[in-house]
Amino acid sequence: MSEQEYVPKSKAGKWFNDRLPLLSLASHLTDYPTPKNLNYWWTFGGILTFCLLTQIITGIVLAMHYVAHADLAFASVEHIMRDVNYGWLIRYIHSNGASMFFLAVYIHIFRSLFYGSYKSPREIIWIIGLMIYLLMMAAAFMGYVLPWGQMSFWGATVITNLFSAIPLVGDSITTWLWGAYSVDNPTLTRFFSLHYLIPFLILGLVVLHIWALHVPGNNNPVGIDIKKPSKDTVPFHPYITIKDAFALLLFMIIFAGFVFFAPNVLGHSDNYIQANPMVTPAHIVPEWYLLPFYAILRSVPDKLGGVILMFGAIFILFVLPWLDTSKVRSAVFRPIYRQFFWILIVDVLVLGYVGAMPAEGIYLVLARVGTVYYFLHFIVILPVVGYLEKTEPVPLSISDPVLTGSADYSMAKKDNEKI
């Protein structure tokens, strides 16, 4: 952060800023030098902030009308849908908002994978981001339990039973999580409490995420280090704010499309049946954003093994910055990695698809192939490709290839040089 020291113009502003430098912070955020070549894949940070605030605001409102009790929860959600003024709208925004939140976060994560944003010196940003993602999954899971429908109840039963796979103490842990001998009223009330807490934890981590981002500055599509500020950067405001705002508008159109025209298409109709501990629905599926992990869980014919692989699929991402051995960040200059990136996307989509299908026949085979490839990508392909791949020449600065029309290779760094 190389901007010069900010001094407020007004006397009152200077008096306040000397005591609490909020105006300096605002000035930093406004002038923050941003790479001028950021494309629309970089607008999802702002979109995600919007999603988080939407969930917090609609959630606070829903909590005013919702009753966290096993006998009353289901009816109170129907009360919100039928009796509360605009209750249907607020609930549909909240439930579809969760899906939109995950849609945006997956694009954000794969953006990072493509352009190497997780690589040095941005490992901490990446790890904080993964912690946010884990908390998002916890919040989404607990939120799905609150309406106390059949999917709520049996989803909660299946997921909490994952912990019973832990040797020796598994059953005690599961009972402790439930506060009963099955998913029951104590489970519902604690899930409500935690569901309300987690978004604020996420908010705190978002502050750290952005703080850690502002130390090295943004990565960019060519993935090179740039001088800040320089001819390669533009101030965050108005250049990035207006671009983010435009992308957010497009995103909100899609969001509104779901809320107003297909509010239940991403949900499951079984959740409009009240929870019944005596009857399991014929086909239990989690929400779409958890399907790839569910497919991994079911691909293993062993209970503990399945649970370990499922959690491993997430935790392996934490060491990703050290598994990727390439010195070049952006896949734009990595012809081999680029292809494996798209194969990984297809792999995750296939896992998501088979996660929604019954675990038998061809789906089970696909799930196993998909699971093996997922781990192969991170454990074998990434480290090996990083060593063997002949990367394309990387430009010296963002401006050079832009201003000359085509990349001037004589100006370019060679791939064996450190960037």
Partner: protein, 174 residues
Amino acid sequence: MDKSEKKTTTRRDFLFTTSYTVGAVGLGAVIWPLIDQMNPDKAQKALATTEVDISQIEPGKSITVLWRGKPVFLKRRTQEEILEARSVSLNDLPHPEKDEERVKSGKDEWLVMLGVCTHLGCVPLSNKGDYKGWFCPCHGSHYDLSGRIRKGPAPKNMEIPKYEFVDANTIKIG
């Protein structure tokens, strides 16, 4: 100062160690109630027994009752079903248990077990699956006529709860 430098253990080291120790014990004493409050409360534990009237159950039929929030299957098995359950070799079982160990002796026709799949807790469907017993629709576990796991991801046989015959027509679970 010169004196204390020669000593290996100073008065201050002692104070640090004891402070940390007492502090850690105090912290543990405060954290434990916060953790234990999540365990089943007295109201949950009070629901620990259920009495069931079994006089109306015909051979070959079963009923399901709720005990501690979980379904319990009470199945009155026919002679053929008992013979079939007992004809299985223990080598064919992922979790070897004799049928005799899973019922009360003299009450061989009554199979009383938690209707909870030992994989991830779904309720298996009766008279389904490859072994004529139960089939779990969630992840495809097959159980036989003794509630023993035969095929699929579940690691164990369905659990037999603590129960007793109060009289000829009544079973007390728990």
